[in-house]
């Protein structure tokens, strides 16, 4: 047992650190570090920089342009990027749909879509949740009807997807759709790749508690999708969706980001005063920070244990989701409390990257309360923490 990084792992960390330091555009890091609003170009620019370096899709098999990193290297990379304030690589194309296409897609789909995902030419969105299908995803109702006509073979899609993250930027959306309602609900689902520019698609923003436009509703009205955009076989969509879930594992704990937020929290609580002394020296507040810091230290080792186990991460990875989001939320809560009454001023305009107005209160306070409310999403998305507990209960504890 050796809980120190090897010389090679340390050298890799130095290499990543150096690269991120030299190549992460300062304006982007600034936005991330100060919780300013990111726009499409910020993500795309960073992803293209990583693409040029060959690091944008480390999780992909080498033959498709991946890095063949060890899980520990992947963690080091995630941690360094998170810590430095790099925007998270948008997972919908690179992490989610790509492995599905690689494993189940047609030759045409691989040749056409994978290079465009790799180069960030296409922005992808995820079409899973529906108004009536959240945790009970398999109950989804968006319909796809197969039709053969003079124009060829198509699916006609009707229905609605929701909570579509950054769907306003999307060129493509991968959707779970119902192609057969006569069989068991899981067996009638298919996996379709849909062009967002198709006639009949409408995107409507959903404004979240922080008054940001991060998620959307996507309506499908008689949308024609070429049959070649079906992934794998009809009726196998649920299997592919479950396969996909197994792929968002290493980054899910967000250890690097949380370390960065913890450090910022300590800096803020070092400047804020209580009874004339830094808040960080107030035992009440300090102990609450310590409680989160200790959990984060533990989570990092838990993550490394999961990554180092010789078997592929299984349902134990749900621990990483639950604990990782607990910690992220606790940090936003403490940060909001740390700024005291300056949690009240709400000025969304100040979160624009090019805003140069007169600030109210300390700069670090500007987004604290908004971020706290934004982060309530973390225990809900990606399989709510209750669903994660169901998974552990059934698959690990056998209850």
């Amino acid at each position: 047992m050796d809980l120190n990084y090897t010389k090679e792992e340390q050298a890799f960390r130095d290499e990543v650190h150096g690269f991120v330091h030299d190549n992460l555009p300062k304006d982007i890091a600034d936005k991330v570090l100060h919780h300013k609003r990111l726009v499409k170009d910020d993500w795309v620019r960073w992803q293209k920089i990583l693409f040029k370096k060959g690091w944008v899709a480390p999780n992909w098999p080498k033959e498709f342009g991946g890095c063949a990193w060890t899980p520990i290297q992947q963690h080091i990379f995630d941690e360094e990027c998170g810590y430095a304030g790099a925007p998270r690589v948008m997972p919908f194309g690179l992490v989610m749909v790509a492995p599905v296409i690689q494993n189940f897609g047609s030759q045409w789909q691989k040749e056409y879509y994978l290079p465009r995902i790799l180069s960030s030419e296409d922005w992808w969105a995820q079409g899973y949740s529906e108004p009536g299908s959240g945790s009970d995803l398999a109950s989804l109702k968006t319909k796809a009807r197969f039709v053969k006509s003079a124009q060829g073979e198509h699916y006609i899609v009707d229905g609605q997807k929701t909570w579509t993250t950054l769907g306003q930027y999307a060129d493509m959306i991968f959707c779970l759709v119902r192609t057969d309602s006569t069989v068991k609900k899981q067996e009638g689902i298919s996996f379709l790749l849909i062009d967002m520019k198709s006639p009949g698609i409408t995107v409507r923003p959903i404004i979240t508690l922080d008054e940001e436009h991060e998620v959307n509703e996507v309506f499908f009205d008689n949308v024609k999708v070429p049959a070649r955009n079906l992934v794998g076989e009809e009726g196998k969509g649920w299997t592919y969706a479950k396969f996909l879930l197994g792929h968002e594992r290493t980054g899910i704990a967000r250890v690097g980001e949380s370390k960065r937020e913890l450090e910022q929290l300590k800096a803020i609580a070092g400047k804020q005063l209580r009874n004339g002394k830094p808040l960080m020296q107030d035992p009440r507040f300090r102990d609450r920070v310590t409680a989160v810091e200790v959990e984060l230290m533990a989570l990092e080792i838990t993550l490394l244990r999961v990554l180092s186990s010789r078997t592929k991460p299984g349902p134990e990875a749900s621990i990483l989701k639950i604990k990782g989001t607990d910690i992220q939320q606790a940090l936003t809560e403490l940060t909001m409390e740390a700024v005291g009454p300056y949690a009240l001023p709400f000025r969304p305009e100040a979160r624009a990257g090019d805003w140069h107005g007169e600030p109210v209160g300390p700069e670090y306070a500007a987004a604290a309360a908004a971020v706290y409310f934004n982060y309530r999403k973390t225990s809900i998305y990606g399989g709510s923490n209750e669903i994660q507990r169901n998974i552990i209960s059934q698959m690990v504890l056998g209850l």
Binding site: M1, V294, I301
Partner: protein
């Protein structure tokens, strides 16, 4: 980075686990606790035969040259069996004080005896007013010719009544809470002037209040540097805390397993109570607490050897905080999920819960270590 235990470590762990599950069942343990001494000489001799009493000592001192990781593996198994023999007081805390502070001659004389199961130790560090502060020492050591005279009251000395030798912290200079001025002494428990009041502890072990009234010791009783014992005391205590954390993980695992089994077998409303989501989610949280505790216990068992005292203190205190908080959750949830059976003394579950609660009150609770963690930043 790897989390792999060696084949030898795996063997040691397996044989100890087998031995405890065979020889240390609930009834056997109960009988041991009820005995006059409160632990079993026979079990202790078998531990000596298995080599676990000297696992971390140098081969030159009769040990097996193992690491803190070996100690962790051993004591996790003892925690799994809630073993009440004085392993922690003799081998871990007493042993590491001798190992870290002792002269070559003292180590030769004592550690090999400990490894062979022929000598028991106890660390008399705490006092009625000291709480968990190792620097808070009112017991005095006055120069007396070449030797010293000890006076004072040591509190809740684990296994103090059965120990052959006591490691005593005493002050010969400075105020009651000063860092400087503390020395360690090796005192025969049977020395004139040593009064021992033994008692049971809530978790089935033994402890004692020990009063020293003009106890004369020779110059050779001094353990380590005179009047500057605090750094080594802290190092030994950190080692002991990291071991306690590993012990707690063994107890958590066993208690969780017993609870999950109960959820699967106990029937109410015509089905196993484990089929109810309200209980399932609590079980999952118990499991997560155990995994987070294991992670920091592992980290502490490695970083306790760090040359950087701040890194050592931070990691060990972090582990003790996690184990204190998680141990409390697991203790309370296990009792609750067992229903009425949880509060019965006839079920092992409650005994694990007691041990976990007492571990929090040994060598620093969550608040104590939270302060220490912040100060070591």
């Amino acid at each position: 980075m790897d989390f792999i235990v060696s084949d030898e470590q795996q063997q040691l762990r397996d044989s100890l686990q087998k031995f405890i599950s065979k020889e240390y069942g609930f009834e056997a343990r109960k009988a041991i606790i009820a005995s006059k001494q409160g632990f079993s000489d026979k079990i202790w001799a078998q531990f000596a035969d298995m080599g676990i009493l000297g696992v971390a000592f140098d081969e030159a001192h009769g040990g097996f040259g193992g690491s803190s990781v070996d100690t962790m593996l051993v004591i996790t198994e003892l925690g799994r069996g809630i073993v009440v023999e004085p392993y922690f007081s003799t081998v871990v805390l007493g042993g590491s004080l001798i190992d870290l502070a002792g002269s070559e001659a003292q180590k030769q004389a004592i550690l090999s005896e400990v490894a062979q199961g022929k000598m028991l130790l106890a660390a008399a560090l705490g006092e009625p007013n000291s709480r968990y502060e190792l620097n808070s020492v009112e017991t005095t050591a006055k120069r007396d010719g070449a030797g010293y005279v000890l006076n004072g009251h040591k509190a809740v000395v684990l296994h103090g009544e059965s120990a052959d030798k006591l490691v005593v912290s005493a002050r010969s200079a400075g105020g009651a809470r000063d860092a400087k001025g503390i020395s360690l002494f090796l005192v025969d428990r049977k020395s004139a002037g040593v009064a021992v009041q033994g008692y049971r502890t809530l978790d089935g072990m033994r402890a004692a209040e020990i009063k020293f009234a003009n106890v004369k010791v020779g110059a050779d009783a001094l353990l380590g540097e005179a009047e500057n014992a605090l750094p080594v005391l802290e190092r030994a205590a950190d080692f002991a805390v990291s071991a306690l954390c590993a012990e707690a993980v063994g107890s958590m695992e066993a208690l969780n397993a017993a609870t999950f089994e109960y959820l699967k077998t106990r029937q109410q409303f015509g089905r196993p109570i484990g089929s109810f989501q309200a209980l399932q989610h609590r079980a999952v949280d118990m499991m997560i607490h155990c995994e987070q505790s294991r992670s920091l216990a592992l980290l502490a068992s490695v970083k306790v050897q760090s040359e950087d005292p701040n890194e050592r203190k931070r990691t060990v205190s972090a582990a003790k905080i996690q184990i204190g908080r998680s141990g409390r959750v697991i203790c309370e949830e296990a009792i609750q999920l067992h229903g009425g059976m949880g509060v019965s003394n006839e079920l092992a579950a409650g005994h694990y819960a007691k041990r976990l609660a007492m571990i929090n009150a040994t060598l620093g609770d969550v608040d104590h270590h939270s302060e220490r963690f912040a100060n070591a930043a």
